[in-house]
């Protein structure tokens, strides 16, 4: 087993740690007075955190030359999708009793639900096209363009987070600043240093 493979295992296991602790605390009834709300909030925040980590891969490669990081990006992105899926499914089961009409009604009436839902749906094509063969089929350039949707999903996620707060916007604003930094770097890099362009071979 080479180091890359081993590092992937480390990343895989560590990314599951929050879910394992959530499950552990749920089993011992340590999620507090409102476990559903706790699970919802935590999986929502984890989705954004994994999106940010995924989106930080390219800036870190460009800035520090840590090219190997690209090997881990797919897994990070899929974890963002996975936690987003858990978030959506928790809402659908426990808040809406899996009633399609209730969920559609919610989307129609509540902008924050609609925005959250749309952001999640943006991640679906990205997850589907994350395989090597799909990258090949789309071609590096097209694939890259498509996967810029991750930024739109992240912006939507933060707006969704912001809209559910009652008055304390500290965390959504912090998250927004992180995203602005990541996006800002990409824009800066695109204009400043075209010479530092990296190979677009994302297959591994």
């Amino acid at each position: 087993m080479d180091d890359i493979k081993f590092n992937k295992i480390i990343l895989f296991v560590n990314s599951l740690v929050p879910l394992a602790l959530l499950a552990w605390d749920a089993y011992w009834q340590k999620l507090g007075a409102n476990p559903i709300e706790y699970f919802l909030r935590t999986t929502g925040v984890l989705t954004l955190v994994f999106l940010f980590i995924t989106l930080s891969v390219t800036p870190l490669r460009q800035h520090f030359g840590w090219n190997q990081l690209i090997k881990f990006r797919r897994m990070l992105g899929l974890y963002a999708f996975f936690y987003g899926f858990l978030h959506l499914i928790t809402y659908s089961i426990f808040d809406k009793s899996l009633s399609i009409s209730a969920i559609l009604g919610d989307i129609w009436q509540r902008p924050f639900i609609a925005i959250g839902m749309a952001s999640f749906f943006l991640l679906i094509p990205l997850a589907i096209t994350s395989t090597n063969s799909m990258i090949k089929r789309l071609g590096g350039k097209n694939w890259q363009k498509l996967h810029r949707l991750a930024y739109i999903a992240a912006i939507g996620g933060i707006v969704h987070f912001y809209m559910i707060q009652k008055s304390d916007f500290t965390y959504p604003i912090l998250f927004g600043m992180v995203l602005a930094g990541l996006l800002g770097y990409r824009i800066y890099a695109a204009y400043e240093k075209p010479k530092k362009k990296l190979a677009t071979n994302y297959r591994n």
């Binding site: 560590n14 740690v17 602790l21 507090g32 007075a33 409102n34 426990f94 924050f112 009652k166 304390d168």
Partner: protein, 322 residues
């Protein structure tokens, strides 16, 4: 002639391949365990467990009031849940962090000044207020966020002290104010609402027999996170109307400003009666999650107290006066 190889490494000194691989695996197992523990540590740091249960003094001679009949068939929310899931923005906007942040809040000595349009303004010490007959009142509490509890409060009708200070004829409203001490309430800096927290009721709402000043719950004096040493409880209105840690009560002739209404006038009205037919602009009020239940239950008009209070709002458009 024998040619000797210089510095020959004895074959016994070469690490055998399986040992080399074992050592490598051992280190890898260590790295894996180490990073996992570190990640778990970060997670636990960001999601700390609740503090130990608070111990407050018992309240003696509690009278069981007749009004408790209306909810006596409902299961009480546990003491642990009532004391670890609190909205008290002066301490923290995280409901699970309030208990710890309010641990050292000083509630003695404490006075409540009752003033304004009254015949006999008076300042009550908390000892005086605890001398009134203390009743147990089991009420549903419905938070505007869409969750609810059933709480065995201890307290006395607000009416008791309003009668003592004798409101003037022109008094139409009652305004309440929470203590604001930034030294003790440091997390309030990020709350996004104005302090001191203020609330208000119409005089007839304040005089209603269901409206109480609570001094305790579960037979014990109020824990800090629940609004010690004295708070309002208006069971047919959203929880934020039931103002905590009261230091001032003022009788007025005009509708007093209220904190959440100042913060977001289109989302929180002066009345804020529990009403499943009037949604919050951003979420539905038709259902609620009763703490300790998994699904959601239907929210009742006036939180189930319609029989007692609906007449206070006869002829009013409750969509307009939300």
């Amino acid at each position: 002639m024998v040619i000797k190889k210089p510095n020959e490494i004895k074959s016994s000194e070469i690490t055998p391949e399986d040992v080399y691989l074992n050592r490598r695996n051992f280190i890898r197992a260590g790295v894996l365990a180490g990073t996992t523990l570190a990640t778990a540590g970060v997670y636990k740091f960001l999601n700390p467990p609740p503090p130990k249960e608070v111990k407050t003094a018992e309240i003696n001679d509690i009278v069981k009031a007749n009004e408790t009949d209306i909810t006596s068939n409902e299961e009480l929310t546990s003491f642990a849940d009532i004391t670890n899931y609190n909205n008290f923005y002066e301490f923290s906007t995280s409901k699970t962090a309030v208990a710890r942040a309010a641990e050292d809040f000083v509630t003695r000595p404490w006075t409540v000044s009752v003033e304004g349009l009254v015949q006999k303004p008076q300042t009550f010490g908390i000892e005086d207020l605890l001398k009134f007959t203390q009743e147990e009142r089991i009420y549903r509490l419905r938070c505007v966020e869409g969750w609810s509890m059933v709480i065995p409060w201890v307290g006395f009708p607000l009416k008791t002290i309003l009668e003592k200070i004798e409101p003037l004829g022109k008094a139409k409203f009652v305004a309440f104010q929470t203590l604001y001490d930034p030294k003790q309430m440091q997390l309030g800096l990020f709350a996004g609402i104005q302090f001191p927290y203020v609330e208000g009721l119409r005089l007839d709402e304040a005089l209603h027999p269901l409206t109480i000043l609570a001094t305790g719950l579960y037979g014990k004096q109020l824990p800090n996170q629940n609004g010690a040493p004295i708070r309002l409880v208006v069971p047919w209105k959203y929880g934020f109307k039931s103002i905590k840690a009261i230091v001032k009560i003022t009788l007025t002739d005009t509708q007093p400003p209220t904190t959440w209404n100042i913060a977001a006038p289109n989302e929180y009205g002066f009345y804020s009666n529990v009403n499943p037919n009037v949604d919050h602009p951003r979420w539905s009020q038709a259902t609620e999650r009763r703490i300790s239940e998994v699904g959601r239950r239907k929210t009742l008009m006036f939180n189930g107290y319609a029989e007692e209070v609906a007449k206070l709002y006869d002829g009013m458009d409750l969509k307009k006066f939300f």
